[in-house]
C-alpha cells in the first residue's frame, strides 16, 4: 500500500522534526517570531518558529512556542543550557523554560499511520453512554482544575512581581541617592578635601 508507506514516511519525517524542536514556555507576551529566532540563533540555526496561540486564556499570560532547530543535538543543547542558566528574552526578567517538543504540540501533525478514528452516536440507553458521559465530565473537570491551578499560579506570580517591584524600587532609590552624590559632585569634592582618589 503506497499510501500507507507514504504516511509512514511522512510521520517519521515529522518525528524527526519533533526531535529537532524545542518547546519554550513562559515567554513574554511581547515575544515575536523574530525575537525568538534571533534569541535561539545563537545556539545554532533556527529553522522555524511557531508560536502556539492560546485561545482559551486572557492575553496577558505567558506564551509558548515551538522552535525548530537545524539538528536534534542543538535542540538538546538548548534544553540543557536553558535548564542550567536563566535565559531571558526581550528583557523580561523571567526565565524562559524549554523542554523537548512532543508530537501533540504540533497542530499540523500528520495522523499516526494506522490510526483510525471512528465516530458513532450513542443512545442514552446504550451501556457505553454512561462511560462517555463520565469521560466528558472528567474532561471538564480536568479543565476546571487546570484553570484553578493556573489562577493560583497567576496569583503567586503577581505577588512575586509586586515583591520584586518593591525591592527594585527600593534598590533604585538607593542607587539614585548614591548616584546623586556622584552627579552633583559632592563625593568628588569631599574626596578632594580628604585628599583621596576616588575612582570613577
Amino acid at each position: 500500500m503506497a499510501s500507507k508507506a507514504e504516511a509512514e514516511a511522512d510521520y517519521s519525517l515529522f518525528e524527526e522534526k519533533v526531535r529537532r524542536t524545542v518547546y519554550v514556555d513562559n515567554l513574554t507576551p511581547q515575544a515575536t517570531e523574530s525575537v525568538l529566532r534571533t534569541a535561539f540563533n545563537q545556539f545554532g540555526s533556527v529553522r522555524s518558529v511557531q508560536l502556539i496561540p492560546n485561545y482559551l486564556e486572557p492575553k496577558t499570560i505567558p506564551q509558548c512556542a515551538l522552535v525548530e532547530m537545524e539538528k536534534p543535538d542543538q535542540a538538546k543543547e538548548i534544553i540543557s543550557i536553558l535548564a542550567q542558566y536563566p535565559f531571558m528574552i526581550s528583557g523580561m526578567p523571567r526565565p524562559v523554560r524549554a523542554r523537548a517538543a512532543e508530537p501533540g504540540m504540533f497542530d499540523d501533525r500528520p495522523t499516526l499511520p494506522g490510526l483510525k478514528v471512528r465516530w458513532r452516536w450513542l443512545e442514552p440507553n446504550d451501556p457505553k453512554f454512561e462511560v462517555a458521559t463520565k469521560l466528558k465530565g472528567m474532561t471538564r473537570r480536568h479543565a476546571s482544575e487546570a484553570s484553578f491551578l493556573l489562577k493560583s499560579q497567576l496569583d503567586q506570580e503577581e505577588m512575586l512581581a509586586k515583591e520584586q517591584a518593591a525591592s527594585l524600587k527600593a534598590n533604585y532609590k538607593k542607587y539614585e541617592m548614591l548616584d546623586g552624590l556622584k552627579t552633583d559632585r559632592t563625593a568628588h569634592h569631599l574626596a578632594h578635601h580628604y585628599n583621596m582618589g576616588l575612582k570613577d
Binding site: N41, M88, R140, Y172, M177, L178, L181
Partner: protein, 1222 residues
Amino acid sequence: MASSDDDSEEEVMEVMNYYFEDDRGEPFSFYRLPLQCSESDRVEGEKKQVSLRGEADNGLRKIWCQVKAWKFDLLNAVPEISVLSKDKKWIKLGKPRKSYEETSIRTILITLHFIHYVRRNPEASPKSVWDYLSRVFGWYEVRPSQDDLVKHTALIRGAVKRDDALAKSKFLHAFLEKPGSMHDEDFQPTHRPGFIVNDMDEDIADDADDDGANEDDELFDSVCAFCDNGGELLCCDGKCMRSFHATEEAGEESMCVSLGFSIPQVEAMQKFFCKNCEYNQHQCFACGKLGSSEKSSSAEVFRCVSATCGLFYHPHCVAVLLHSGDEVAAIELQKKIATGESFTCPIHKCCACGLGEDKKVSELQFAICRRCPTSYHQKCLPREIALEDIEEEDIITRAWKDLLPNRILIYCLKHEIDEELGTPIRDHIIFPSVGEKKSNLKRKIKQESGLLKSQGKILQKNRSFSSEESFGGMARKVTKELPSAVKKGEATHGNKRLPHEPDSLRKVRGNDASQKFAKRIKKSVPADASIPSLGDRLFNLMTQGSEKVVAQQDTPDGNKTAAKKPTAKEIDHQLPPLDVDTERRLSDLIKKSETSITMESVVKKHKMPSTHKYSARYVVDKTITTGKVEGSVEAVRAALQKLENGCSIEDAKVVCEPEILSQVSKWRDKLQVYLAPFLNGPRYTSFGRHFTKVDKLEAIVEKLQCYVEDGDMIVDFCCGANDFSCLLKRKLDASGKKKCSYQNYDIMPAQNDFNFKRRDWMTVPREDLPQGSRLIMGLNPPFGVRGALANKFIDKALEFCPKLLILIVPPETERLDKKGPYDLVWEDAQLLSGKSFYLPGSVDENDKRMDQWNLTAPPLYLWSRRAKSAHHRAIALKHGHLSRKEESHLVDQHLQTEVSNHLNEDDGCYGNTSVLSHDIPMDIDEPEEFRFGIPAADRQRQSSTHNNCSRESQGDQNHGKNPSIGISKKEILSKENSGRQMDEKSPEDKKNGGRSPVSEVYKGNFRSEFLETPLHVEVGEHGYQRFDHPVSSSPVCSETAYASNRASIFDDFSRKYGMNHDEPYSSRTESPTVSSHLAKPFSGHTTNGAEGFGHQSHVRESELQSRYQYGQDATDPIYRDLGDLGYGQIGSQLPTSYSHVGPVAASYLMNMSVTQRYAPRLDEMNHPRMPTLGSEPPPIVNRNEMFDPRAPQRHFQDGSMGFPRGPHNPIPHPDNSNGWLN
C-alpha cells in the same frame, strides 16, 4: 629534566594520548616502574617489559617505545611526569588517553597534583587542597578522595623526604601521620560537588574583585543590638542601622532574646525594619526614652549625622552632653538641633581627652560603650575596663576586641555587669507601641509564627528539623524571661564571643541549609514511595471527582456549590465548579511541589560559570540597607557642608570617614551592576554576552594570520558564535598553513560547532591543550567590572603558556607583562571602536540584530611570549606595514605599541644585566627594518648603547612613577625620581658621555613641570587631562610643557633612533630654535580649540603621531585626552613623565617640529605619506627648514627598503591637516 623554558621544551618529546602496556598488552600503570628521583637515586619498581604508546607532535607521530623508569617534576606550574625510554631519553607525558587515565593512573595523577599543590601552598587547609583536587579532576566520575592518596603513601613519604618545601606542609604531615584517618570534614567538599563549586566560585569572585560582601560590614556595627555579640545577624533596613539576632538559634551563644523569628520567616523576609524604624520611634541614646524621629513632622529625637553611627538623641540630652560645662552654649545647640541642624554625638570624641578617633592608629582607636554615649581612646581607657577578668582586683571583663570593626566594645563603669550574661542587663532596647508590653509583642510574634507553621502543615512534615525544634525554641523563649537553673547549666559563658564574620557564617549556614534540604529530600522520597504514584493518585482523584460531579448533577448540593461558585465561575462559566475537597487537594499538591523545590536546589541546579559573581542580591538587599545608604549620603553631604563652612578636616572626618566615601562608590557600583538590566532598559535577550562582529573578526584574522605557523593550535577561550576560528581556518587554508588545529570553548553552545567544546574556560585542564609553544590563544573574553573577568580569563590562559595571545579586553585589564614573560607586539585601539559588537539573540524594534559599542573601545592586543617576541615583532613590522588596511591608525598602532613595548620591557629588565643581551637583537631588528639613513653598522652600535642608556633612565622613571597617582605625591616623587635617576644613571653616563646634558635638562624640566601642576589640579587625578589647560591658557605652563617636551624629545629621540647626542638638535643649544618652533604650534592649537583635539578625526592625529610616533610615548596620553578613548592601559604603564609632561603639548608639538626634523628617518615607515607632510601648512615647513635638506633622503630609501608601497595611498585626509591649521 624538563624545564619550563620554551626553547628546551621543544626538544623534549611530549607524548599525548598515551598509555602504557606490558608485554602481554595489558594496560600498565607507569607508577609501578622504578621511580627515578635523581641521577643516582632510584626507587625500585617492577621489572617488566613495559612500552609507552601514544602520539607526539600533535598526533602526527605515533610513539611506541619501551620504557624503564619514570620521574615527576613538581617545580613547574603543573606537575610533569616523564618516563625514561630504553635509549635513555626522557619523554614527557602530556595528556593520557582517557580510558587509561581513568582506570590505571588516576590515583597517581591525583597524588602528584596533591603533592604539587601542598608543596606550593604549604599552609593550605585541607579544604582548599580538596577543592583544588576536585577542580582539577572534577571530570572523573569518582571524585578524588583520600583513598587515592593512601595508595601512594610511600611515594608521598619519599617525596617529602627529598623535598624540603614539602616537609613544610602541615596537612601533608597530618596525612602521613594518620593516612586514611583524616577527619571527615576534610572530605566534605568532595562529597558535595555542588558546594565545592559554589565555594570556590565565591572565593574566586572575592579574589578577583576584592570588595567582598564582608567589607560592607567593616564600617558598620556588626553586633546584635540586644546582646552585643556577633554571629548571624539580620540588619535593619532603617535609619538605626542596627543588627539583630533574628532567631533564637542565632543568638543562642549569648543567650540573646533575639527577634524571635523562625528561620523560614527570616528567609522569606524581603526587608526587615525594626519596630523603631518601622514606626519612626527611636530611643534617645542618652536618656533611653522613646521619641518620634519623623523628620517631616515634629521630631523629638534626632540622629547623629556621622555616617556609621545611627544613634538618636533628644536635642536637650545631646546638647548637655556636648557642652557639659557651658549652659548657654548647650541651650543654643539644643535649639539648633531642634531646628534640624546636624550634629555629631559625644561618642565620636574620647571622653577622657576630648579628641577624635583615628582608626588607623591602634592607640587612637575607640572603645565604645554599648549602653551610653561614652567612648575612650584605646590609650585613654581606664584600667577598670579590662579585656579580661582580674580576680584579685574584682575587675570583670568589660571590653571585647574584634567585635566591632577597628574598635573595642565596652560597657563603661556606669553599667553593672550581670554575672550570668557577662553583659549588663539587656533591658536597653525599647520597641515602640509595645514599650513595657515587650513580652506580649514577642508572644504575638510567636503566635504568628506558630500560625504560619500550622498553615504549612505539609511543609513541616518534610522538614528535617521539624516542629519539635521550633516549639522547643518557643518553650525556651518562655523560660528565658526569668533565668532558670537549666538555662544556667546550658549556657556558655557570655564572655566567649563570636567575632562577626558574615561571610564565613553565611557560608556555613548555606551548607547547613543544604544538608537540611538534602535530608529533607531524602525523607520525602520514601514518603512518596509509600503512597501510590502521582499518576495513580490523579486517576483516583479524577474518578472520584467525576463520580462526585455526577453525583452533584443528580443531587445538587446547594451549600457546596454555592460556596465554590464565585471563584471558579469567574474564570470560566462553562467549567464545572470545584468542590472544597478538590480545591484543598489541589492546593496541597501545589504546596507539596513547592516544598520540593527550594531556593537552594534551584541555585544548585543553575550552576553559574566560574566567571559569574555570586548572589549579588544578598549583598544588595541585605547588606546595603536603605538606612545605611541614607545615612552615608547624608553624612557625605553634611561633611562637605562642614568643610565649606570652614570646619577642619578632622571634624568632617568625624561626620564621614574617608572610607565611607569609597564605600559609597562601591555601593554605587554594586547597585549599578545589580540594576543594570533596568538601568539599561529591556533591550537584551541572552546572557549578557556580546560578540564581535564578523567584519571585525575578519580584520583581526587578517592581522593574526601572519603570526600563525604550521602546526599551531588556535584556542578561542570564549568563542561566542564561533566565527573566529572558522574565519581563521579559511584564511589559513587559503594561505597554505593547513596543519593548524583549533579549539573553541564557551559556556554556551555556539551557533557553529566547528571544533567547539562546551566548557567553562576556567575548568579546562592543562592536559587538554598542547604545549604552549604551539598555542595561540585569546579573543574576546567577558570583561567584568573593571576588567576583572578578563583578568581571570587571561590568568587561566597564561597557565598554558601560549606563545601568542590575541585579546580584545578593556584597557584597564592588567597587562600581561606584569603577569608573566610576555611582550606586547601591538595594540590596536581603533579596530574595535564604533559598533564592533553585537548582542547575540537580541533584536531592536525593527527586528534587526542589535549592535553594541563600548563607550571606550576595547583595544585589540597581541601579546607574545618573551622568548619569541622579537620574532613576532619583526613579523609585525613587516606585515603591519604591508597590511592592506589603509587606515593609517593601523600602522600607527603597530608603531605605538612597538614603542610602549620597549618601555615595558625595560621596565621588566631594568637593572638586569640581561638588558643588553635582550635589547640588542631587537635593536638590530629595528634598524634592519628601518634603515635610518645612518650607515648601518654605525647606527647599530649607537643604538645599542644609547638605547640602553636612555631606556634605562626611562625604565627608571617608570619604576618610580607608576605608583604616583595622587597629585600631591607627584611632585615629591618626581623629585625623588630625578634624584634617583641621576644616581642610577651615572654608570650609564660613563658609558656615554653625550648623554648627561640631556638627562639634566630632562630632570630640570621635569621638576618645573611638576611645580606647575597644582595650578591645574582641579581637572582630576589623571595627569593627562591637565594638559588642555597648560596648552591653551597658561603661557607659563606651555613653557614648561614645552620644556619637558623637549626633554622627552631628546630622550625619545636618542632612545629610539640611537641618535648621537652630539648632533646639534639634541644638544642644549638647540633649545631656542625648538622653542620658537613650539610656540607657534601652540597658538595654532589654541585657536583650534580643544574641540579640535578631541574631534578632528583620529586619522589626523594618528597620522601625525605615526610620524613621530617612533619615540613618542606621549601618544597614549593624547589618546586619552582625545575623548577618553580608553587607552589607559598603556598610558598607565608609560613613564609618568610622559603622561605628565604633557601629552597634548608633547604630541602635537613634537609632531610638528620633531616629526619634521626626523622625518627623514621616520618617513621610512610612512613613506607613502610624506607627500602630505610636504604639503602641510607652510608655517610648519618653514619652521623646520633646517631639517628639510634631509628630507629627500627618504625617497631613495623607499626603494632600498623594498617595501612594496602599492597598497598605501598617500594620506587620504588632506582635510584634516587643513583643519588642523585653522
